[in-house]
Amino acid sequence: MLSLFKTAWGVFLRAFEKRVTVSYPEERPYLAPRFRGRIILSRDPDGGERCVACYLCAAACPVDCIALDAAETEDGRRYPSFFRINFSRCIFCGYCEEACPTYAIQLTPDFEMSEYARQSLVYEKEDLLISGTGKYPDYNFYRVAGLAIKGKDKGEAENETPPVDIRGLMP
């Protein structure tokens, strides 16, 4: 009998404690920048597409939910002619981001992706590509890599010396 009152008292006291429940969506939880949510494709600081269609994200994906096809612009930059992520299969493991050599593919702190139809979870490139640099504001792959593209000649990448004159006679 006593225990009954004791329990009721306990419950009553709880009513004055700080609430644990977050009343989402009015109130939003803090999500760290490293949170692994909806995947995006970013652009480099010059506004060009960062993705060079190297297929490494697709290879790293354990559920094989990324498909893309490489193409090349006249400037010599490689890009994906299509880029598709099937979010109904994605497990948000972040391996694609780890594999990406150009910081193009990034996971964001957004998980609000519920849909009524599974088909709506298939994101194409226009759904994925954002206009900013995402988490890595400075990196530009082509400024580091030795490949020449329009506007960046041989020898102009980071750490490079000017092209060798193969007809030179100097020792």
Binding site: L56, R78, V122, E160, V164
Partner: protein, 907 residues
């Protein structure tokens, strides 16, 4: 066999190898760059360092380069030794100091020998603080992309291109740390084998430019074992597919056929498969000009109406269709109504070649045997253009005897640069008799340019020198008689002489080649006799039987036929336009089965979409007589199916039998109907084979995007297509070949890959010892075997060629790019097809007042052609050359014709 100890493990190595070859053959992982199984060692990269110990008590040892150290009895080495490891890691760190950090956009990535070796040696981080050396690239033409920054100076490219393939326009420039591999100026690489640089280069300096246009990583390519369809040699290939498009062709090692290399026609001719001229659905054409696509069931119903009910059917097969399809057609129409679709001269020559190879003692050699011959006689064939890889093998044969001589001076065979220095310009007995200058002339000791008759006379004179029973040509010029004597001496001296000829000139030449080979056999020499045939299944079609196209034209003119069925054959490339048009008039219905729209398919009332080589399964017989199976690489869109499958369904619908459910059933009925082709069934394992209870996977285990590829259309994933014809699955699920014994029979290995070995070098994990055949026998089964008995010589010898006044003997000229129908449809190749011309002897041309490029008129066989003149060195006087190219009307060559300036002919 010498015993060696590798890290304390006792192993058996083969005699005459170096330590690197021995270690790789035994399955050890030892990094290397400059060594290549075909080109052997030069010791340029210092990557394969191992520690060698004096004896079991020696604990200190010394570092040696494995590729430059011969295997000796009881040698003790260590790969795992910490000092050797550190040495190798250091070497690769230096090599990587200027590497351009562009793997993500490098087409070699994922199948890069440099990546593999870097991982193997353990180098991870660039410590070098100074700048990277850079280079400018060159435009090397439509096939090969150049990116010099990635170079590690292993010298493999120039060693292949110049030393192995005889090219002249790729070289090394500059010095010290700025060594440059390229041409002296931008321009298309001249060698027919330039595409091999892509596989030979261990990094991404030379990559496939056609793949670059639709780039896919190796791990994403679905592949299946295949056979090249662009000439009669039957080189083994690995086509790769992604998203329903064929992306590239890679070499598939076959120790008895093409070894490590392909020609550019075979490697880059594949894009006709993706062409916009492809037929993808059945087409009905009730009235000319009106056509509609109909569904497969309807098409089959209509075809059965055209064929059933006592209709008389004529069937025309094709040398570019598989054995199975030709056989199905033969079943449909009956053997008496089956025609080969080849013009009379070619048809007869192919039959003659078969009779010679089956009725005489001379054996048709495999390509690898060609490469091991030690005396060569080429009679009347421009091998570089009609069978390019055979020309590459012949170049190896040309070095055979000089190499043997160097080896007898105690230079190890694998020591490539020492061998090169030792042999200098020494040439082995290599003789070429051709109607004009050919690329192999430069490898030859003696060259004879003459008209077909005189080539045949030379052949017979050689045969007569070897064996007095052989017929001798009368009235032979003293110079030619001496040449014949010299060649006969050289052939007599050889251990394994080879005679190469082909069906491109005349019967007399084919017979003369047989006489030489038989004369060698008569004096107790084992002679190889290689006849070059024009198309991928020419030999198979000849074995199938049937009559020629000319017989078909005659039979149709007599009337009595209702329906014509044409299988994968464009008759307009076989006979004159008017002849074919008249022929088509003789039939009420024409049914065509083909993969690409041609003039023939547009004349047909009903067209069925056939599978191109990568979309179907079948068997081809090459010029050696080797039956080889090619497998479906991918399931194409549309109603595309193999010819035999369509024909089986049509026969079932018309009540003539039940459709074959898979290829094994076709092969079984073929074995019972055509006994000569009985063994074709053994060309590959039957569809029922399972490895550890599974089918073999076509796709690599790291194949990506499985749940996203089709999601654009529907998120519900379709089940992978079924393949009733082979033990291969359209998926990465299934048995994954890994090499070192964990693999299916070699006929079924879709791609060479082994853990840690992603590059084409992975093939060493599938070979029976370094440079051996594939473990478990090289694919293919020989259908032609020589007879024991000696047949009588061909007695008739043509008289000498006499130029006629005002007339020219027109002979055909073949070009590697364009002379075969399908590669001409591939866009990268199309740009390299020569413009049509008429070839003339320079002196004849001067007499005609036709400088190069000036238009001349050719009148022959009822045809008038106006084409620019080309001066061809070596072409004899009184002989004109007409190239076999798209856009040049077909003539039955050789024949006499009149060449004139257009004005004169108009007057």
């Amino acid at each position: 066999m010498p015993k060696i100890y590798v890290d304390g493990k006792e192993c058996e190595a083969a005699e005459g190898q170096n330590l690197l070859e021995a270690c790789l053959g035994l399955g050890f992982d030892l990094p290397y760059f400059c060594w290549h199984p075909a080109m052997r060692s030069v010791g340029a990269c210092r990557q394969c360092a191992v520690k060698e110990f004096k004896d079991e008590n020696d604990a200190r040892g010394r570092i040696v380069m494995a590729c430059m150290t011969p295997v000796t009895e009881g040698a003790r080495i260590s790969i795992d030794d910490p000092e050797a490891r550190a040495f190798r890691a250091g070497v690769i760190e230096w090599l990587m100091a200027s590497h351009p950090h562009d793997c993500p956009v490098c087409d070699e990535g994922g199948e890069c020998h440099l990546q593999d070796m870097t991982v193997m040696a353990g180098h991870v981080y660039r410590r070098h603080r100074f700048g990277k050396r850079t280079y400018r690239n060159q435009d090397l033409g439509p096939f090969v992309n150049h990116e010099m920054n990635r170079c590690i100076q292993c010298y493999r490219c120039v060693r292949f291109y110049c030393d192995y393939a005889g090219g002249r326009d790729l070289s090394v420039f500059a010095s010290r740390d700025s060594v440059y591999f390229g041409r002296s100026e931008d321009g298309t690489l001249e060698s027919e084998f330039s595409g091999n640089l892509v596989e030979v280069c261990p990094t991404g300096v030379f990559t496939d430019k056609t793949l670059k246009k639709h780039y896919t990583r190796k791990w994403d390519l679905q592949a299946a074992p295949s056979i090249c369809v662009h000439c009669g040699l039957g080189c083994n290939t690995t086509p790769g597919e992604r998203y329903g498009r064929l992306r590239r062709i890679r070499n598939r090692y076959n120790g008895s056929v093409n070894g490590y290399f392909l020609c550019d026609r075979g490697r880059f001719g594949y894009e006709f498969v993706n062409g916009d001229k492809r037929i993808r659905r059945p087409v009905l054409r009730e009235r000319p000009g009106e056509e509609e696509q109909i569904d497969a069931g309807e098409a089959i119903r209509r075809a059965s109406l055209m064929l059933g009910d006592g209709k008389r059917v004529m069937a025309i097969g094709s040398p570019r269709a598989s054995l199975e399809s030709n056989f199905a057609l033969r079943e449909l129409a009956g053997p008496e109504n089956f025609f080969s679709g080849l013009p009379d001269n070619e048809h007869k020559l192919l039959r003659l070649v078969l009779d010679i190879l089956k009725g005489g003692p001379a054996r048709s050699p495999s390509l690898s045997e060609v490469g091991r011959a030690d005396a060569v006689l080429i009679l009347g064939e421009d091998v570089t253009n009609t069978a390019p890889v055979e020309a590459l093998m012949l170049r190896q044969a040309a070095r055979k005897r000089p190499v043997e001589k160097a080896v007898s001076r105690k230079i190890p065979e694998w020591d490539a640069s020492a061998i090169k220095t030792a042999i200098q310009n020494e040439k082995e007995p290599f003789h070429v008799a051709a109607p004009f200058a050919t690329k192999l002339d430069e490898a030859a000791k003696a060259v004879y340019h003459a008209p077909p008759e005189d080539i045949a006379r030379l052949g017979n004179a050689i045969a007569h020198e070897l064996d007095r029973d052989a017929p001798s040509p009368e009235g032979l010029e003293g110079r030619i008689a001496q040449l014949a004597k010299d060649i006969a001496e050289d052939l007599k001296d050889a251990k394994s002489p080879i005679i190469v000829s082909g069906v491109s000139l005349s019967e007399a030449v084919v017979k003369a080649a047989a006489n030489v080979a038989w004369a060698l056999e008569a004096i107790g020499k084992k002679a190889a006799l290689s006849y070059i045939v024009p198309e991928c299944n020419s030999t198979g079609l000849a074995l199938m039987g049937g009559k020629s196209l000319d017989d078909a034209l005659k039979a149709a003119a007599h009337g009595g036929f209702d329906t014509l069925v044409i299988l994968e054959n464009d008759l307009f490339t076989r006979a004159g336009k008017e002849e074919v048009e008249v022929f088509f008039e003789c039939f009420e219905n024409i049914i065509a089965i083909d993969h690409t729209a041609t003039r023939t398919t547009s004349a047909a009332g009903l067209v069925f979409p056939a599978a191109a080589f990568a979309e179907g399964t079948g068997t081809l017989v090459n010029s050696e007589g080797r039956a080889q199976r090619f497998f479906k690489v991918f399931d194409p869109e549309g109603d595309i199916a193999e010819g035999w499958r369509w024909l089986g369904r049509i026969m079932e619908e018309s009540g003539a039998g039940t459709a074959w459910s898979n290829i094994d059933e076709v092969l079984e009925s073929m074995a019972s109907e055509v006994p000569e082709l009985q063994e074709a069934i053994d060309a590959a394992p039957s569809a029922g084979l399972r490895m550890a209870g599974q089918k073999v996977a076509r796709a690599p285990q790291r194949f990506s995007g499985r749940t996203a590829i089709h999601a654009g259309r529907s998120v519900i994933e379709p089940r992978p297509p079924e393949d009733p014809d082979s033990p291969l699955s359209f998926s990465m699920e299934g048995f994954q070949p890994k090499g070192l014994g964990k693999e299916p029979p070699p006929e079924l290995i879709p791609q060479f890959w082994s853990p840690g070995w992603n590059s084409p070098q992975a093939v060493i994990r599938f070979q029976d010892g370094t440079n051996g055949g594939l473990r478990g026998n090289d694919p293919g089964v020989r259908l032609i075997n020589p007879a024991e008995a000696m047949p009588g010589y061909f007695r008739e010898v043509p008289g000498p060629f006499r130029p006629r006044k005002g007339e020219w003997l027109v002979i055909p000229v073949y070009h590697i790019f364009g002379s075969e129908e399908l590669n001409a449809l591939s866009p990268p190749v199309a740009g390299l097809i020569p413009r049509p011309y008429i070839g003339l002897n320079p002196e004849d041309a001067v007499k005609l007042e036709a400088p190069p490029g000036e238009e001349v008129a050719l009148k022959a066989g009822g045809l008038h052609l106006k084409l620019p003149a080309r001066h061809m060195p070596g072409l004899p006087e009184g002989v004109a050359a007409l190239p076999v190219l798209p856009g040049v009307e077909r003539l039955r060559l050789p024949q006499w014709g009149v060449v004139a300036r257009p004005k004169e002919s108009a007057a």
